[in-house]
Point group: C2
Chain length 219, copies 2
C-alpha cells in the first residue's frame, strides 16, 4: 500500500535538516528520520540527529555506508585534508554523497510504501556543491522513479531560501529550541569553532535574521 | 587529468558483462573491472568475475554494499523467497540495485579521472527490471553528471541486442572461450539448473544464435 501521507527525512544532525524535520512533521502524518554513517570525522553529527529525533519522539535509523570513505578523498572524512574553498570544488565536497544518500533513502522508503523523501539541500547560499542544486534534485527524482517504478517525490523545502530565511522559517515552525542540539561546525568542536565555512554561514544567517544562535561558539 | 581512453566496467560474473568486457577492452586502452558484493546468495558470481578479469590480466575490485541486502527483500538475496515472474515486478528484482552500482562505480571512476562506465544492462529480452531500460540509463547519466560535475558516459553496448545477438557479438569479439567461466543460474548450482528464468533466457540465446553454450547444465 502506498503511503502518501508519510515521509522519510534525511538528517545530518545540522541546522538545515532539523528545520526540514519541523517542516515535515507539519506536512506529513508520520516521518521516519534517516541518517548516514559514511565515515565522517565527527560522530557528533550522528549523535545530534539521534537526539533531535528522540526529542520529537520519531523513529530514527542510522545506515552505515563505509563505501563513501573507502572510495573518496575529502576534508570531511580525512582530517589530513585541509578545509579549503578556493577554485573548483571545495575540499569538503564528498563525491556522490547526496546521490548515494537519496538513493539509499528511496530504497528504504519504498520498502515501507513511502514515496516522499525530504532533504535539506539548498542552492541559495551556494557552497559550491553541485549536488545541492535544484537541477540535480529534479534529475535524481526522475531517475529514482525510472529505477524502481515508484512515484518518488523529493522535497527540498530550503532549496531557494537564504540561511536567514531558514532561521526565520524555523522560528515560524516553533522549532528554535531544537537548534541547540544541532551540529554544524566542520572542525567538529564544541563549542563550535565559529571560523570554518559552515560556522560562518550559520552565524551570518542568524545575524541577518536578527535571531540568536542557541549553540556556543569559542570566544 | 581526465582519462577519456579508460573505462570502469561493472561485472556481475555473468554472460552479459563478460561480453561487455570483451567489447570494452577493444574500445578502451585500460579497463578496470568492478564487482559488488551486495549479499547475493551465490558468491560463485563474484568468483566468476574475478576469474574472468584474471584471465584477461585486468585489475579487479569487489566493493562491499551490504546495505542492499539490509534494506530489501528479494529472491536474489533471500533464499526463503521463491523465484517468480508473475504480475508486477519479478521477485528477483532488487530495488535500486543498478542505480547503486552505477553511482558507486561513478564515484570510483571519478577518483581515477575516468568518465567512462560500461554496464551489461539490456532492455530487449525484457525481464521486467525497470533499471535495465535505456530511459533509466540516460536519466542516470544526466544525474551523475550533475551530481559530480564530471562528464560521465554510461555505455550499455547490449541495450538493444537480443540474447542471440549478444552470443553472436561475443563470437565476433573472439571471447566465446571466456563464457565457460561465467555464472548465470539464479539457483546458483553447478552444473546450472537450466530451468530458472536466467538459465532459460541464456539457453534460448545460444540456441537461436546456433552456438553451443560452454557451461554444463543438469541433465
Amino acid at each position: 500500500m502506498q503511503k502518501d501521507n508519510q515521509a522519510v527525512l534525511l538528517h545530518s544532525g545540522g541546522q538545515d535538516s532539523t528545520t526540514c524535520l519541523m517542516w515535515a512533521i507539519k506536512k506529513f502524518k508520520k516521518v521516519y528520520v534517516l541518517s548516514f554513517d559514511y565515515g565522517q570525522r565527527h560522530k557528533s553529527e550522528l549523535k545530534a540527529a539521534h537526539q533531535i529525533a528522540k526529542k520529537l519522539n520519531l523513529p530514527h535509523k542510522t545506515i552505515k555506508l563505509p563505501v563513501i570513505k573507502e572510495l573518496t578523498k575529502n576534508a570531511l572524512t580525512d582530517k589530513k585534508i585541509k578545509i579549503s574553498t578556493g577554485k573548483g570544488l571545495p575540499s569538503t565536497f564528498v563525491d556522490g554523497r547526496n546521490q548515494m544518500f537519496l538513493t539509499v533513502a528511496a530504497i528504504y522508503a519504498k520498502q515501507k510504501g513511502i514515496p516522499n523523501l525530504v532533504t535539506g539541500v539548498c542552492q541559495t547560499d551556494y557552497s559550491g556543491y553541485p549536488d545541492c542544486r535544484d537541477e540535480f534534485v529534479k534529475s535524481l527524482q526522475k531517475t529514482l522513479r525510472l529505477a524502481m517504478e515508484f512515484p518518488f517525490k523529493i522535497y527540498a523545502p530550503l532549496m531557494n531560501l537564504t540561511k536567514a530565511e531558514t532561521v526565520k522559517l524555523m522560528k515560524k515552525l516553533g522549532g528554535m529550541e531544537l537548534l541547540k542540539y544541532t551540529h554544524t561546525c566542520y572542525e567538529g568542536t564544541r563549542p563550535a569553532c565559529g571560523k570554518c565555512p559552515a560556522c560562518k554561514l550559520r552565524l551570518k544567517g542568524f545575524k541577518e535574521a536578527g535571531e540568536v544562535d542557541p549553540i556556543n561558539y569559542k570566544k
